[in-house]
Symmetry: C2
Subunit: 195 residues, 2 copies
């Protein structure tokens, strides 16, 4: 992972956030999204398939954000997008694709999801990149992102010639992983004891 250390603000393994769930509770959540050892294998394969396509994926996602003023809003202050912030987040977003596919979902993974969650929330928004932008990303859009992040990945999963069944397996595993992640990212927004 030596190249990862070159990504500013990428603190995987170096955050000590209290995680919202224990590993036992995470396991129940994984059961709820039907996440099995087979999904883990499909995700690892997806990591191989997507590894050299992250820039193209980010082009799609950034095109989508950039073409929707209500989303670009969260990278902006008083209507002025912060280019440095957009570009700093983009590097970490690319690494997130790979991490989602290849990292074990353990305590370090949970802690970094919590760190990302806090960076969306007022708690830590804008701090990492010294950004000039809105003080929070509203939760409804974090959750709604499950859809574009899931639907737009399919073509990239299919781009390396795997058969339809394997692509569908990778796609379902990705969908489960993205939903799991979005659930964890909701934690700072939710009333105590209601998460």
């Amino acid at each position: 992972m030596s190249e990862s250390h070159a990504i500013p603000g990428y603190a995987y393994g170096n955050v000590s956030q209290t995680t919202p769930l224990s590993l036992e509770e995470l396991d129940l959540l994984k059961q709820t999204v039907l996440f099995s050892p087979e999904d883990e294998r499909f995700l690892h394969l997806a990591g191989e398939v997507l590894g050299d396509q992250t820039e193209a994926i980010l082009d799609v996602w950034y095109g989508y954000v950039g073409s929707h003023p209500h989303l670009l809003h969260y990278f902006s202050l008083q209507g002025q997008p912060d280019g440095h912030y957009l570009s700093a987040v983009r590097k970490r977003f690319g690494q997130w694709i790979i991490d989602t596919c290849t990292r074990p979902y353990d305590t370090a993974w949970l802690a970094y999801q919590q760190e990302i969650a806090l960076r969306h929330h007022t708690t830590k928004k804008n701090l990492t990149d010294d950004a000039r932008a809105e003080p929070i990303i509203h939760l409804r859009y974090i959750l709604a992102f499950i859809v574009p992040l899931t639907l737009t990945i399919k073509d990239f999963l299919a781009a390396k010639g795997h058969n339809a069944e394997t692509v569908a397996g990778m796609h379902a595993a990705w969908f489960k992983a993205v939903t799991l992640t979005a659930v964890l990212w909701s934690y700072p927004y939710v009333h105590t004891n209601e998460f």
Copy 2:
């Protein structure tokens, strides 16, 4: 909809909940989940396809809840499932499948999603059915349900002989609708101004 009035606690069109979003904000949320007029047409078709399969779908969903103690928990008090509650919810859940496919996403729809949200939350949990059960469904499971509700519907969408492209279209539309709904159901759990 005359038969719908026979479902105890089904109050579509008869609730006056303040909705968390205006129609303009709902439109932005629909854009975020890539929900288009084409999805609306696919959802209507899905409503026709699923209309006589709701009991079979509910068998799958209830089998899934019943086989996971951490989910059955929310229909139970001190480990004792409330059969009357399970059965009352089941009837409304079947109607929800149809409503999700066929109702216009207007103010009445928003108001009823808010009513359902409050019935999951401490605000109104157990009141409608006089249930003996846990006082809240934790948000993480409401959100996690996006996955099983989406993945398990595919076979039912394919059961009436539509071609693969049409089934995929109905499936994507259903995924968007379920995610949209889950987002709205999160509202009572979220800090003021963070939704």
